[in-house]
Amino acid sequence: MSTGFLAQYGEEIATLTAEHVWLTAAAMAFATMIAVPTGIWLTRAPRWAKPIIGVTNILQTIPSLAMFGFLLPVPWLGERAARIAIFALTAYALLPILRNTYAGIRGIDPSVIEVAQALGLTGTQRLFKVELPLAASFILAGLRTATVTCIGIATIAAAVGAGGLGELIFRGVASVDNRLVLAGAVPAALLALAADGALGLLERRFKVAAR
């Protein structure tokens, strides 16, 4: 890409990247707030695990373009494109976070949980001192998968006018200008790589040595 191109589009790329980050980050925050507590609850009521994880699984199979389309006529949500985007991205992020929270806690050595109960730790102490720290790297791995997926899906949010780097891609496709397509795709890919790397580091920090 020539310096002329960057001079012309540099500012727009920066703005759209910031928008992209904001859409993804908001969706991740909502998804975490919903999926982590739900995952914890499922470990206490495992008979609900299959149906509820099943629902989030079905959400994931909806093609993203269709999902954005379905949400357009919904009252309140449809009024602002960013709302649609954040809602849809949240829905896509639920499964990996929920599944990993559930599996992470259920996968803890049963003797550790047994002793935590038998020594008289309260439910809250067991959760915050034992279960969450031991499942943390799993939960973060779920968050990482969700983030990387959503950075990709967020490019499609531009189809309903939610902004983000998809804007440049759609515009580039419409005007058959590959430079514009790349100007959207390359920063989106870099964002995904950066998020993957940063969350991967965090995940390793929380990994507990095996016995």
Partner: protein, 255 residues
């Protein structure tokens, strides 16, 4: 002496109706060690776990220090009873020091006091705090981990100690060392101990009384010196079966 633990006609059945324990009555005097001896599936672990209500009896009653525990506060009850299991269940993300002090920590004890208590107990179980306090469980050998498990169970100074095959996973040499250590430790501490094992020698060495269980029933409760001399067919069967198992294990090792 009074009974620290009393089992009154304890029955435990699974929700499907399978009977795990049948009408077990047994009294454990304060400051003594009672061994629950039996084969796998005899119900000894289930009986042990009724004392801290990890298992709720479907019939009968458990009394601790003369009080029925059915309606006692679960957290208070469990914090007043030490618990040691074969797999140790050490918290892999805590240092040894924090593992040992976990019950005082749960009770809101000050950090400095927790550390002091934890070091004191590490010394008591034969681990030098200077070299072990800041290690993690995976950096310890099986025997060392079991010592930490014992120290943790003693941290809140419980009057009662429940031990479920505590040395079951250890090699014979380490096992012997641990039995010696436990015997010395208990001689000074005057705890009421309920210990589950299938190892007859361990039962004879550590027990003040031995309760033999089979298929969910209490067969006999005898002092060690009576146990080997008992004329009861079930007791003799167990002794013979255990010795036979030992002989064949030795032959396998020799080959």
């Amino acid at each position: 002496m009074s009974a620290a633990i009393e089992f009154r006609a304890i029955a435990v059945a699974t929700p499907q109706g399978r009977r795990l324990l049948n009408d077990i009555s047994l009294s454990v005097e304060a400051g003594t060690t009672t061994v629950l001896l039996g084969r796998s599936g005899s119900g000894k672990t289930t009986l042990l776990r009724t004392v801290n209500r990890m298992v709720e009896p479907t019939g009968g009653e458990v009394l601790v220090n003369g009080t029925p525990i059915r309606n006692s506060d679960l957290i208070t009850l469990r914090r007043s009873i030490g618990y040691v299991i074969q797999e140790t269940g050490l918290f892999p993300h805590f240092t040894i020091e924090r593992n040992v002090g976990v019950v005082p920590e749960a009770e809101g004890c000050a950090p400095a006091e927790r550390v002091r208590r934890s070091h004191e107990l590490l010394l008591a179980v034969g681990l030098d705090p200077a070299s072990f306090a800041h290690r993690f469980p995976h950096q310890l050998s099986g025997g060392q981990r079991q010592r930490v498990g014992l120290a943790r169970a003693l941290a809140a100074d419980p009057k009662i100690l429940l031990m479920d095959e505590p040395f079951g996973a250890l090699d014979p040499l380490t096992r012997g060392e641990m039995q010696d250590m436990l015997r010395d430790l208990l001689a000074g501490l005057k705890k009421t101990v309920l210990l589950v094992t299938h190892d007859l020698d361990e039962a004879l060495y550590l027990g003040d009384q031995i309760a033999l269980l089979s298929e969910g029933k209490l067969i006999a409760c005898l002092e060690p010196h009576e146990f080997l001399r008992s004329g009861m067919a079930e007791v003799q069967d167990y002794v013979q079966a255990f010795r036979r198992g030992e002989r064949s294990a030795r032959q396998v090792t020799r080959r």
